[in-house]
């Protein structure tokens, strides 16, 4: 990277070539006001507020989109420049109903309001414009108020480059120009225009033109308190910023820091339910046919007694601990400890796909500790990405967004192996439709092509076009390539398919010691955290194999109990065994659909943090805090540990770690874990760096 020397306001500054004047100025403490600029977007150059004077150029130029040059002499705030900025701002205000500031949701966080204040803009008369009254777009998430729109263009750009959609376009001319949702050039509703309601446009809107429908009157911007969170809607583990006021969650936004290419999807942004009115706040115990409220002590003792009784009668293998894939790292650790050390069973599956778990175990084994999968920013900048499977837009929308960016705005060849996907936006460079032999056969053919084996044979076996196979292999031959595997792949994948996938990754140089360019996606929220903390039937915390005697011994030493050696059953097998009367007692974390298995169970207890989906068939129900009410660590699909903090405090509910620890105590096991910090300290023994305090994101 070449360095250039320039002067900003008389100060000599060194900057990397290619940086803009604005970036350089901000880095060096010179203040240049902006309105349309957003650090996560390419400069738009629309607002013209960031004008600066450059020696040798008669007109002022914009700082946001002009690169620094050797010897440049920049003035950021001459009287003329300030006067022009004020005029431009005043022009903006003449098309913005600033009298609405009193009632606007955005007041206090409005960038126009802020600039008007800082630049002491004159308040002009409103220009006559033909802007229609808000028609009330029929959607439950986003409110559009066109009268407030200042046409900065951020929403249009973020929709295209962030979400990979083309919902918004400019309509009309001059002061009557509007940003409208349009399909084939015709104005329509957001959903008709292809909106996926990821809400990025809302997050990025500088004014109150786009706001969250659910936040109305939830609190003024200056009342909102932020808490860092992790999204559990899929295994990507996107980081969130939760904003709460008055003991209630008001909105969720994409965090300012962190992976600048990672956005949110509809489920992340809008999927967090406000806690419902009729929420369960105390444990429930089945009494005859109905559930009654009970104290924690009674519920814990009843559960412990019931489980121990079944253990004594049928043995530990008649008990199981299941989860819905969303347990935090600490809960995962404690639940598996409860299963193995107290209930003496390895039937502990907290909710991951078996083929996925095998692939993660093998990939981590090869890459070793510290080799994380790609970030969204890395995917965006890839030279090539192989996508295996389909339905990413549904299962892991944020990964789909990054890939669309890579294919449409980056330099990546995106090669997809799987069924046809109709996302409405062109982004794939090559689609290899899997033949009847399935996706694994295509992967094997690609491996063969990378090894320069005869193309026709390989292509024939997989049922793909040899020319396409050759192109795909060529694009994967570079260094900066990645593979993203969709959850759909694991459904039908057997051990051979997993091996085909890993073999291709090794051949493409994506998987070796210290390097893991694989993003293995699961549908489960904290799949990676679960598998790393013992929530899998055959793995101990730290992904140590249960059938490894040394690993088992150190776990036994730590747990102070002997552990069963035989690998346990996975979730499907547990439920089958329960239906056949082989498993009699079940402790479930989250919403586990037991279905027919219920009839074979003699005891069923639930610990559930989702207030709207408590399984009411249970014998004992322990309510738990919702995601925004608890502190916990989660691990994203790439292997990075993320911290979830409390946005709202709920003192009525005991956190999960406390319930599990108390349950163990009720069953006679004294764990001496008095707080979350103690839990984390113990977890580190088997799995160093499993909590946020140790392995912070990036």
């Amino acid at each position: 990277m070449k360095t250039v020397t320039l002067w900003i306001d008389g100060k000599k500054i060194y900057a990397d070539e290619g940086m803009t004047i604005l970036e350089t100025a901000r880095k060096n403490g010179a203040h240049i006001p902006t309105l349309c600029y957003h650090p996560r977007l390419e400069p738009l150059g629309h607002c013209r507020i960031c004008l600066v004077e450059v020696e040798g150029i008669a007109k002022p130029i914009t700082a946001c989109d002009n690169p620094v040059r050797e010897g440049m002499v920049v003035q950021t705030g001459t009287p003329l420049i300030n006067e022009m900025r004020r005029e431009i701002l005043s022009m903006t205000l003449s098309t913005h109903p600033y009298q609405d500031c009193l009632t606007c949701e955005k007041a206090g966080a409005c960038e126009l309001q802020e600039k008007a204040y800082c630049l002491k803009a004159a308040l002009p008369e409103q220009l006559e414009r033909a802007i229609p009254e808000p028609s009330g777009d029929p959607n439950p998430y986003i409110v559009r108020d066109e009268s407030k729109c200042i046409l900065c263009g951020r929403c249009i750009q973020v929709c295209r480059t962030g979400a990979g959609r083309f919902v918004y376009s400019l309509e009309g001319k001059g002061v009557n120009t509007r940003v409208v949702p349009a399909r084939d050039g015709v104005e329509t509703s957001l959903s008709e225009a292809g909106c996926i309601f990821c809400g990025q446009c809302v997050d990025i809107c500088p004014v109150g033109a786009l706001t969250e429908k659910g936040r109305a009157a939830g609190g003024r911007e200056w009342e909102l308190r932020s808490a860092a969170g992790v999204c559990l809607e899929c295994s990507l583990g996107c980081t969130l910023e939760r904003r709460a006021a008055g003991g209630a969650l008001v909105k969720v936004t994409v965090p300012r820091e962190g992976d600048q290419a990672a956005w949110l999807c509809r489920r992340g942004k809008f999927g967090v339910n406000p806690v419902s009115e009729g929420r369960i706040t105390t444990p429930l115990i089945r009494d005859g046919g109905t559930l009654r409220e009970a104290g924690y002590a009674e519920a814990l003792q009843k559960t412990a007694d019931a489980l121990l009784k079944l253990k004594d009668k049928y043995g530990g293998s008649a008990l199981a601990v299941l989860g819905d894939g969303r347990c935090g790292n600490e809960e995962s650790y404690l639940l598996q400890k409860l299963a193995r050390a107290v209930l003496h069973t390895n039937h502990c599956d907290l909710g991951t796909e078996p083929a996925w778990a095998q692939a993660v175990e093998a990939a981590s084994g090869t890459a070793g500790p510290g080799a994380y999968g790609p970030t969204m920013a890395e995917l965006q900048q890839a030279d090539a990405v192989l996508v295996v499977g389909s339905g990413l837009a549904e299962s892991n929308p944020v990964a789909q967004m990054a890939l669309q960016h890579a294919g449409r705005f980056g330099r990546a060849a995106v090669v997809r192996v799987g069924a046809a996907d109709d996302t409405g936006t062109a982004w794939e460079s090559l689609h290899l439709k899997a033949g009847p032999a399935g996706e694994a056969a295509v992967l094997q053919a690609m491996t063969a092509a990378l090894r320069h084996e005869p193309l026709d044979k390989a292509a024939g076996a997989a049922g793909v076009d040899p020319a396409a196979l050759s192109r795909a292999a060529r694009s994967m031959a570079g260094f900066n390539t990645y593979t993203v595997v969709c959850p759909s792949f694991w459904q039908a994948a057997d051990a051979a398919a997993v091996e085909a996938l890993l073999e291709l990754a090794r051949e493409a140089g994506q998987l070796k010691r210290g390097r893991c360019n694989l993003l293995l996606l699961s549908a489960s929220g904290n799949a990676r955290g679960i598998i790393e903390n013992g929530g899998t039937p055959w793995l101990l915390p730290g992904m140590n194999r249960l059938d490894d005697p040394a690993a088992r011994q150190s776990a036994e030493a730590l747990f102070g109990a002997s552990l069963p050696a035989a690998p346990g059953l996975d979730r499907r097998a547990v439920l089958e065994a329960a239906a056949n009367g082989k498993v009699k007692g079940l402790f479930a974390a989250g919403t586990v659909d037991v279905g027919e298995a219920l009839h074979g169970l003699e005891f069923f207890a639930v610990l559930c943090g989702d207030p709207d989906a408590v399984p009411l068939q249970a014998d004992v129900v322990f309510p738990a805090p919702a995601a925004h009410e608890k502190a916990a660590a989660f691990t994203d699909a790439a292997g990075r540990v993320r911290c979830n903090t409390q946005a709202v405090t709920n003192t009525a509910l005991k956190p999960e770690w406390e319930v599990i620890t108390a349950l163990a105590a009720a069953a006679g096991a004294a764990w001496h874990l008095d707080d979350l910090a103690a839990v984390r300290r113990e977890m580190q023994c088997l799995n160093p760096g499993c909590c946020c305090c140790q392995r912070q994101a990036l």
């Binding site: 738009l44 002022p60 690169p67 003449s94 220009l127 295209r160 083309f166 001059g174 002061v175 980056g410």
Partner: protein, 652 residues
């Protein structure tokens, strides 16, 4: 001849208001047309100032109209143009309504300054110029309104405006270049393609072979380098191909849609047919060759233009409802009169130049084996017809056809290829890129030499006698005339000779009474605006009119013919459309000013397309130029575009 009363055009202040008409400057000196469509030009308001030719013109009134137009064209992205032009238009409106005051004048001056110095694109940056000029030089006109006096004239004016740009004006087909580049910049590649397809279906073709006159009209040139407009065009075409974007279907034609015949399926014919079909006509193209595309298919070699790209774009023409009848030679298989009897209401002749000019050299007519005229040679190569190749070949000429012949021959396996040209390399008419590529690939240039005699033995070419040339005085084309050097004859040892010094048309299909006039250049005489020939229902386009010119010029004539045929069939007389009239206007006056130094920050490197390494090029006819590596390069290049959109308003 209309006189200039006042002009601030291009920064040259001409104020002749005090002079007597005889001493005033002719409008023509400013390259402004005095009359358009029969109406006399009274004033012109535009990006570079203000021109007044008629003392009756009310400056305030025409500025008001100008700013209303600016407001109607302002794209809405940047605040100064979007709001500033409205604020100015409102104040001008207020003044002309007799409600203005002094504060409005100073406010307009400041607003104009802010708009000029801070707008995003040239529309906003240039539009205030005439206002600022008028405030300075026409205070009386404003004051009259402020003082409640009647305006200078109560006369009514008519207006014609045009939104153009230097690159767009430099493009013979006036493709909306700033528009499609902005779409790329904003990630809307499909919309970008749609904008180009308004003018032509041959986007991927032009993206590869266009000589891009637009780029030599790019205002970025003095700052760093011109925008790579051609490759950007190619990018959107290729992106659609890679992503299998379906093309929009054409309109459903009614059963009684008027029928139009096009003769020749080259770029001019294809464009005329495409535009006419989109206007609702039933078009049939008659093509003598077994393939459609004209010189695109049988002239330009496939290493420059892969046939799947060409054919996909011909399919796009067919998708509009155009029928292409191959192997049908008008004059032999069908006559013009038969076409008329079959109900074709108009016929567009776009037959091109498919014969080679002769060199006038001894032995040329002897029919020696190894002697093939360039056009015929390329046709055979492109149609995979058998050719008996030699080992050493001389190609004569310095144009693109000569380069195509020479480079194709290397790919056909000819061991040594000489390119014999009578002037020096500097004068070669071929594209610079073609000349460089030919040299890189191993074509040996024999410059300042001209063939004098073909040597043959037993009816086979055995060599070519040439004479050295030197450059004398410049001729009418401005190039220095080559003069033979006496006694400098030498023999070039070759067994194949391909002359490519020019092409001529074959108009034998035209009956003597067709009414079509053939001029002394050997091409059809047609109106440059309407492409109408002397026969009312016959129109013409492409090389058959222009002589050997470029694809984009052929396309422009096809579009003009389509528009005029439409007018002829609707109104009974061929005429150019409103937009086209103003395009001729700006073509005459010029929109690009090479002397202007734009206020832009330079140092943004032009993104270059990828090229196949020389070593990999000569195996067959694999494409050598590959376009941008990916979208990122296209975006970086599009970001370099300053969007020099300019609004002109002609007052009549």
């Amino acid at each position: 001849m209309a006189k200039v009363l006042f002009s601030s055009w291009s920064g040259n202040l001409i104020d002749e208001r005090g002079k007597i008409p005889g001493e005033q400057l002719d409008l023509d000196k400013l390259n402004l047309p005095g009359r358009v469509d029969g109406a006399e030009l009274k004033a012109f308001v535009g990006w570079s100032g203000l021109v007044i030719a008629d003392p009756q013109v009310d400056v305030v009134e025409i500025l008001k109209t100008y700013f209303q137009k600016v407001q109607q064209e302002s794209c809405g992205r940047c605040i100064p143009c979007r709001v500033g032009s409205k604020a100015i238009a409102d104040r001008l409106e207020k003044i002309t309504a007799g409600k203005g005051n002094r504060a409005d004048l100073s406010a307009m001056g400041w607003l104009g300054r802010v708009m000029k110095d801070s707008s995003l694109c040239e529309l906003g940056q240039s539009a205030p110029l005439p206002l600022l000029t008028a405030l300075e030089h026409f205070p009386d006109s404003f004051n009259a309104y402020l003082n409640g006096e009647q305006p200078v004239s109560g006369g009514s004016f008519s207006y014609r405006s045009i939104l153009t740009a230097p690159c767009q004006n430099g493009c013979p087909a006036h493709v909306n270049i700033p528009g499609y580049i902005r779409c790329i910049k904003e990630g809307c590649y499909e919309d970008s393609l749609g904008i180009i397809r308004e003018k032509t279906p041959l986007v991927g073709v032009l993206g590869r072979v266009c000589v891009h006159p637009c780029e030599s009209n790019c205002r970025r040139q003095p700052v760093d380098e011109a925008i790579s407009i051609r490759v950007l065009k190619r990018f959107v075409a290729d992106f659609a191909v890679h992503n299998e974007t379906p093309a929009a279907p054409g309109p459903a034609l009614p059963a009684d849609a008027p029928k139009i015949a096009v003769i020749g399926a080259g770029p001019a014919g294809l464009n005329a047919a495409y535009q006419l079909a989109r206007k609702g006509y039933r078009v049939t193209i008659y093509e003598a060759l077994p393939v459609a595309g004209g010189m695109l298919a049988v002239g330009i070699p496939s290493y420059r233009l892969p046939r799947d790209i060409l054919n996909a774009e011909i399919e796009l023409v067919k998708a509009q409802g155009v029928e292409i009848k191959l192997n049908t030679r008008i004059g032999t298989d069908l006559t013009l009169d038969q076409l008329r009897q079959d109900g074709f209401k108009a016929i567009c002749i776009a037959t091109g130049l498919h014969l080679s000019s002769s060199m006038g050299v001894e032995g040329e007519e002897a029919g020696y084996q190894g002697f093939i005229p360039g056009v015929e040679y390329l046709r055979s190569v492109n149609l995979n017809r058998p050719i008996e190749l030699g080992k050493k070949m001389a190609v004569i000429g310095g144009g693109n056809v000569a380069m195509d012949c020479a480079r194709s021959s290397l790919r056909m396996g000819v061991k040594e290829v000489y390119l014999v040209y009578r002037r020096s390399r500097k004068e070669m008419p071929a594209n610079e890129a073609e000349i460089i590529a030919a040299a890189e690939e191993g074509v040996k240039f024999v410059l300042l030499a001209n063939p004098t005699r073909i040597l043959a033995e037993n009816g086979r070419v055995m060599g070519m006698e040439c004479v050295r040339m030197e450059l004398g005085e410049p001729d009418s084309s401005g190039r220095r005339r080559p003069v033979p050097v006496k006694g400098s004859e030498f023999i070039l040892d070759v067994d194949m000779i391909v002359p490519a010094i020019g092409q001529v048309a074959d108009f034998s299909f035209l009956p003597p009474d067709s009414g079509v006039e053939i001029n002394k250049r050997g091409t059809i005489e047609a109106d440059p605006d309407t492409m109408a020939t002397a026969a009312p229902d016959l129109f013409a386009g492409g090389d058959a009119v222009l002589g050997a010119r470029t694809v984009i010029e052929a396309i422009a004539t096809g579009n003009k013919a389509a528009e005029a045929i439409d007018a002829y069939l609707r109104e009974g007389a061929a005429s150019a459309g409103d937009r086209a009239v103003m395009e001729r206007f700006t073509e005459k006056m010029g929109v690009y000013n090479p002397d202007e130094v734009p206020e832009m920050v330079g140092g943004r490197e032009r993104q270059e397309e990828e090229c196949l390494p020389v070593g990999e090029r000569l195996h067959g006819f694999i494409e050598t130029e590959l376009g941008f590596k990916g979208p990122l390069e296209a975006l970086r290049e599009a970001e370099r575009c300053a969007c020099c959109v300019r609004l002109g308003l002609a007052v009549f």
